[in-house]
Symmetry: C2
Subunit: 468 residues, 2 copies
């Protein structure tokens, strides 16, 4: 009995010791893991106090999947305590999973969402936390409206990319390049309105130039249409202000100034002069060049642009325009632009431009293939360009396709495309022939996929229209 | 032996079981605690992934003490990996602990830093995290440039405060009220410039009205000075646009329109119509009123304003102005304004307005006491007003003191104050007599303390000037 009792105790002890070992190891390992976890957290969230709630809110909004066809934003409509999904063009339903088959593909506006996946991949380095008391003043501590840190980052970026010389240039920030375009026209116009300046651009041109000049209706200038018409007008009484857009919106050509002379002043719109879209043959070194993050990082909604200006007086006048107009650019926007550009600066822009260039190349390949089955439409032709950034000669991959309807009877090209359920922007918007249509290639993947699928049907004649 | 062996086993087993119990309980409790901890953290930082680093960066910048006489910002200059302190006006040194005794007190600009401590007290609820891919598009999903959530919050706020009727009104956002002032002038001016509108305001008036109208030099309007001069001008050929600022900048009076009639259009600048500064006798119900967060929450640097507009056509024209000028207001700013206003909405604005009113009352008491020892200077007199928000009759506490130099020989008052090391804004800036000076009372505590101390010396004659 005693032996059997002893052996029962023995077995129980062995079991109990094993259990102890199990518990002990578990406890030790668990505690180590917990400690390790918390010490890892020191760097990132160990000491968080007031910012944790905002961070959790943002992550919660970002965690809404929306089936990959939309996104929930922190400031979107809230239903049942959750921000609702905002769906891509042809998707619907509470989680954007519903494809709307009769919907038109949107290739109209220049929404640069092709870069959205890049920022989702760089969520950590691009996030920014704005404290409730962040920069409440009208001005920075040097009494300007402009962050010197951001200014120096912009100079560094241009030098890394090699697309603009910033030495000897002043910098003015604007609420998007939109504000700077008119600030530049205003700064280059005479004070004395007896000889107003004539504002011109080469057809096809971005409509905002004309729209702004006509709408604001300043006594110092007036819009006078096509630059080419002024080529031989030597005896003009006033100054001429020429807009040069390079790469051009809509057709992507690396335009050059048409007009030259002592009474000609040139505004270079360089919104698209980045390696996503074009070769960078050399850094530009112009009297007045305007840039924006809209087509560089894709943050059109942030409204941030900047101008490089050689002349001190023109700089002062543009600066004054922005001051009287809006008292500078939002400090919240400047903070965010700084954070985004830091991501670019870190590797000299290599990653974002490779991402953008690859994406645009793929899209152009698909578009060309789709269009190759028909002679009904043609695409603009742009010669290959040397790119000092990628150190190779490359095919340009402009932001927009400039499509021409080639059939005699297809005089109004946008009507043809609209009938085939494709939204674009007709040639007349750019003061050009209605045979042309601008199709945006920089929108979301969904928008581009829809576009290709609509174009395929149109090109193959499936939509009912006969192709050549 | 067997018994003794058995009893040893028995003792060991008891010990082992006790150990098991200990380990088991420990493990269970530990895990529960860990689970509890993590479930508590779900609300604040449990699931943080990509936002933790940004949050830690922001908290680290905010943790710089700067001796209570400055602040370090996330986007400030960085030295040795830490953002440097930006000191208040009369402070210097790396940690802002150095008082600069010969420095002039700054009571010039209207920087609304008196509200900064409020936001530091509400750090958690007012912080906002902006994801790298937040609202990259040009427009919201309803194709507007304006957040509907923010619009509805503004309507709610006006209704809670009781300072404006928003039913039947359209809302346009602007890059600060600055942009909206000119957008309103433009919208109310005729398209046909053969009869340009005359823009007027009552002296003393905010200089930006004149500055904008003259600088943008639109063919549709021109600035024509004092409204009073137009009172009896019945046979004017064009329209008249009158700016009415209530409470007025600089003197705080609740101005009313001077001009009336079928050809008169009125723009009400309501930047200061909040319970910090004035009684709210009743909600205004005007054709066109302009507001801003600059003097409401104190976020002048964010550049966010809005207009309440009755007429559909005027609304469309102002909306178009903002669109052509800047393509709307930064989405980053709209997100932040939403977060800040949510803090106000939560308790109907009670806390912020009590904070602001108390602060302004204290400052006015100190100012009056300081000025009471001399007859050399006088302050504007504003009658007590009924305040429906605080439900009492109260003394107004305007944002600015409108100081008059009473001595015959003190014709240029700002010169007198500058000599006493006080920066303010001379009467001529507001098109008024140089006997007046505007002193800002809404700046930081340091600026206000410096002002009082300089005024004390001036009033008591210690600065060398003889007082009456």
């Amino acid at each position: 009995m005693a032996g059997s009792e002893s052996s029962i105790y023995k077995s129980c002890l062995v079991f109990s010791l094993t259990a102890n070992l199990f518990f002990g190891v578990n406890l030790y390992v668990g505690r180590r893991a917990a400690w390790k976890r918390s010490s890892d957290e020191v760097d990132t969230r160990g000491s968080l106090s007031w910012s944790g709630r905002a961070a959790a809110e943002a992550e919660s909004a970002a965690a809404e999947e929306c089936s990959g066809h939309g996104r929930a934003y922190l400031d979107g409509m809230v239903v049942d305590g959750r921000p609702v999904c905002e769906c891509n063009t042809c998707y619907g339903g509470p989680d954007c999973s519903l494809f709307l088959p009769s919907c038109s593909a949107n290739a109209d506006g220049g929404d640069p969402l092709f870069l959205e996946p890049f920022w989702k991949q760089h969520a950590e380095s691009s996030a920014v936390v704005v404290a409730g008391w962040h920069r409440m003043s009208y001005s920075f501590s040097d009494y300007t409206f402009l962050s010197r840190e951001l200014e120096s980052l912009l100079r560094k970026l241009h030098s890394q990319v090699g697309n603009a010389v910033t030495d000897g240039k002043h910098i003015v920030f604007g609420v998007g390049s939109a504000q700077l375009l008119n600030a530049a026209v205003h700064a280059l116009s005479p004070d004395n309105s007896s000889h107003p300046a004539s504002v011109v651009a080469s057809i096809p041109y971005y409509q905002l130039y004309q729209m702004q000049t006509e709408f604001f209706d300043s006594a110092g200038c007036s819009f006078q249409g096509d630059a080419a018409r002024w080529k031989n007008a030597t005896n003009t009484t006033g100054d001429i202000i020429e807009f040069v857009t390079a790469p051009n919106n809509p057709d992507g050509l690396l335009n050059e100034a048409v007009l030259h002379g002592p009474n000609v002043k040139t505004i270079y719109d360089r919104a698209y002069y980045w390696p996503h879209f074009t070769g960078i043959p050399s850094p530009v070194d112009e009297d007045l060049s305007i840039f924006t993050i809209s087509k560089l990082t894709g943050h059109a909604g942030s409204r941030f642009g900047w101008a490089l200006i050689r002349d001190e007086d023109v700089y002062q006048r543009m600066n004054w325009y922005v001051q009287v107009n809006t008292m500078g650019v939002s400090r919240d926007t400047q903070l965010r632009a700084l954070k985004l550009l830091k991501v670019l600066i870190e590797d000299g822009g290599r990653e974002i431009f490779e991402f953008g260039y690859k994406m645009m190349t793929k899209r152009w390949d698909r578009l060309r293939k789709t269009m190759s089955v028909t002679n009904r439409f043609s695409l603009q032709k742009i010669p290959p360009e040397n790119c000092t950034f990628f150190q190779k000669v490359r095919e340009p991959t402009p932001a927009y396709a400039w499509v021409k309807c080639e059939r005699e009877e297809d005089r109004n090209c946008i009507e043809i495309l609209n009938a085939a359920k494709i939204l674009g922007r007709g040639g007349s918007v750019f003061h050009d022939d209605e045979r042309y249509v601008r199709l945006s290639l920089i929108r979301s993947d969904d928008d581009f996929d829809d576009l290709i699928s609509r174009l395929e049907r149109l090109a193959s004649g499936e939509d009912g229209a006969k192709t050549i």
